[in-house]
Symmetry: C2
Subunit: 303 residues, 2 copies
């Protein structure tokens, strides 16, 4: 039931109204795999530079994340610098240094090629396609993407999407990809591009899952303390996919629970800077908050 | 179990990307009472001008809305003109002609003074206070307000809020009223101003209810067709309060159901222009969509 993730491992410098942090462990694959490893064994494919601190490698290894696919290349690690205003829903990118990530060409170790659950992090859709060429027959291919690829590599993205079963995007990305402002119509249009399951992430407003003809909507947890939204979307996807891998099936019940697990995991992520909260949260704490979440959304039937 | 509403009855001219309509029946009290009358008897206090069409009066009367408090004053009816872009979440006011509404001084007929459930629509907080002076002992005093009063009559609004049990506001209004960007902290701050219950409306993103120490969050229904958001918030409040009046209690179960009923009623409102859909929707249709809504948000517990 291994879960394979391909994406970025980075060093993030982030500033929010509540403080700042330089060169913290970040990257989509880092948040994803840290979250997912709460629930299932994870295999990671990513590249870091010579400057990547050994302690970060040790942290990932200690999470029971298989690092056979983590390569160290000559040069510096991918760096992202961003800030948030009090409108915490949107990151403002101040600087991006791709460094070793610029020539990232994911090669899957032989043991990874039979992965049953696959998550293609937000990388060039051409590279996402090359990963797909290397896997045998996953039960679920999930992917993330962003406006950069939607705007700049649309044809490549559409080719990759034909091979994707579940797409994670935020509202704005869904609207841009579909060229449709209504979010329901946008999701339906994306389903026609390939992925029969579309998960729309809406930050503090929650998430929706369009699973063939079924729809599930979940609000986010109302949080009094939000320090740093970095990694919320990736840890949401990690929690979602980790739950699916642990359950071992794609039943509607499982996917709806996955939506809630992702919501809960992301709610922990944003409570502190960077990975600080996610790295200490336990499966029991996730479970307790999952139960709280069910109470939060509970509505009795009418008499 | 009568539900008393004080607010505006207006003629709206609205333009959305899907069409336009001139001088349609509108106003906060109209949407509220049309929605609430699906569930409970409603008493309406409002003012219209000499030009107010008799057919609108007949429509309201046919809904079993008590019009003893609807006065006709010399002059023209309150008119609002607005437009929406594809970002349907926010109205752009093009013109407001207060007309007879400018000198509105709500006088409650004797029979209204014992109302058990009260909704103070979005009017001058001084007038809201004068209504409160005229009622005997309602079981619940609910109120709406807006940025115009938060910015321009804050002291009066705060005096009124001390006498309010349940405040309906949208996100931006809650943030502005509390001077706090975090929505949970904003709600808690408003609870300290008086209303122990705060309902935050978030348009297409749903709604949240802060009821003393308890919180309930509900997404909106994902709608493929949204024609005109005018009146969504007022019909949400009408559905909410109508359900409470019909249930006759303030139990957490009732209030959570009310949040869902309001959500469902608003979802009908926005599907067509103006009151077109709300005026034809039946209690059975609301109930059927309420059941759909519960399925939409359903998450099974973890094994």
């Amino acid at each position: 039931m291994s879960l394979l993730v391909v994406g970025s491992v980075a060093l993030d410098s982030v500033e929010t109204p509540f403080g700042k942090r330089d060169d913290a462990l970040g990257g989509s694959a880092t948040f994803f795999s840290t979250a997912a490893s709460l629930f299932a064994p994870v295999q990671l494919v990513a590249v870091v530079g010579e400057d990547f601190p050994a302690e970060h490698v040790e942290f990932l290894r200690a999470r029971n994340i298989d690092l056979a696919g983590l390569t160290r290349a000559p040069g510096k690690t991918f760096r992202w610098k961003g800030s948030y205003t009090y409108e915490l829903n949107e990151a403002h990118t101040l600087d991006t240094q791709l460094n070793v990530f610029a020539s990232f060409a994911p090669e899957l170790p032989a043991a990874y090629q039979k992965a049953r659950w696959l998550f293609l992090g937000n990388i060039d859709p051409v590279l996402q396609g090359r990963v797909l060429d290397q896997v045998q027959k996953p039960q679920l291919v999930a992917a993330d993407t962003m406006n950069f690829w939607i705007g700049g590599k649309k044809a490549d993205l559409l080719r990759t999407l034909e091979r994707v079963d579940l797409l994670f995007v935020n509202d704005a990305e869904a609207r841009e990809l579909a060229g449709e402002s209504n979010i329901v119509k946008a999701a339906r249009a994306i389903q026609h591009m390939g992925p029969k399951r579309v998960c729309i992430k809406r930050g503090e407003y929650g998430a929706m899952l369009f699973d063939h003809d079924h729809v599930c909507a979940a609000p986010a947890l109302p949080l009094a303390e939000v320090f740093d939204p970095t990694g919320a979307g990736d840890s949401f996807a990690g929690g979602f996919m980790g739950h699916v891998a642990a359950a071992g099936n794609l039943e509607p019940t499982t996917l709806r629970q996955a939506l809630a697990v992702g919501t809960v995991v992301a709610s922990f992520t944003v409570e502190q800077f960077s990975l600080d909260r996610l790295r200490t949260v336990t499966r029991e704490q996730v479970r307790a908050r999952f139960d709280e979440f069910r109470k939060l959304i509970h509505i009795d039937e009418l008499a």
